[in-house]
Symmetry: C2
Subunit: 140 residues, 2 copies
DNA sequence: GCCTTTATTGAAAATGATTTTCAATTACAG
DNA sequence: CTGTAATTGAAAATCATTTTCAATAAAGGC
């Protein structure tokens, strides 16, 4: 049970072990699908019926800070828009000034077919963004 | 003025040309940064002060359908969580059943350095996700 | 140009997700 | 066991997005 190791990590950063945290950790640690806070809430409440949604938010935040869970991108969530380029291109964004530059990702095809073979998935689409500092912002 | 071409594309799909749409198109077409709906609203209102936020949402939706604008991922937005893997890994998600599989992206380093050289950016981080159908879901 | 039709609009209300507030509870150090 | 500070859930507040609806205005036919 990896759950214990997650709880130990929480504890080692000064957190107390509570039933609520245990329930959220058990749900996240055992899921192989991305879950929204409400989905976590519904699942975790079967273990601890007194659990509140607010605690789910707070616990997910802690688990993310510890690197035990990660955010998953689902296109409809993203509410920032930029003009599109010609053809399929990817984005490179400056973390400081927000400038966006497009680049092509021709060399990704090899990666996709390798991953497809290794996993048995039929790969349909992808999402790639790079983040960094543009030339101007590097010198400031 | 590429704006006219965007407006022509809107019109060719049966849309009427209005001041509100013109204002939103001008803002989006001329920005090299990703903008949230409220940011678009603030900027476009300087051209058409009667513009409503609802119309911004509706126009962005149309522009996205036409492929004239694209969504930009900013990590804070994403509200679906998954347990993290060991080390830096990337995600492959089944579009049908939601299953998530991790894969390593060792071969991405070459791409990053090429893009860094071409653009002058110092690349700090990246976000890559693949989407497809897992073996089971392909046969259903 | 002038109707007429119908898409489009903005305001307001409704919805939904997330955050804040706060008093009661509870983990755990001593 | 006890004291105390972290944690909790409920309720309220906030914020983003969607829906509703009556008024407006674009564009096609005359």
């Amino acid at each position: 049970m990896n759950t214990e190791s997650w709880l130990a990590q929480l504890q080692s950063t000064g957190c107390r072990l509570t039933g609520a945290r245990r329930a959220v950790v058990e749900v996240m640690e055992s899921s192989d699908r991305a879950l929204t806070p409400v989905e976590v809430f519904d699942a975790a409440r079967q273990r601890d019926p007194r659990l509140g949604l607010v605690t789910v938010y707070r616990t997910l935040e802690k688990l993310e800070q510890l690197g035990l869970i990660q955010r998953v991108h689902q296109s409809r969530d993203c509410q920032a828009f930029l003009k599109a380029g010609i053809g399929h291109q990817h984005l490179l964004l400056c973390e400081r000034c927000g400038r966006a530059v497009l680049f092509d990702g021709d060399d990704l095809e090899a990666l996709f077919s390798r991953v497809g073979e290794q996993t048995g998935f039929a790969i349909k689409s992808h999402w790639l963004q790079l983040y960094g500092l543009c030339r101007e912002c590097q010198t400031k």
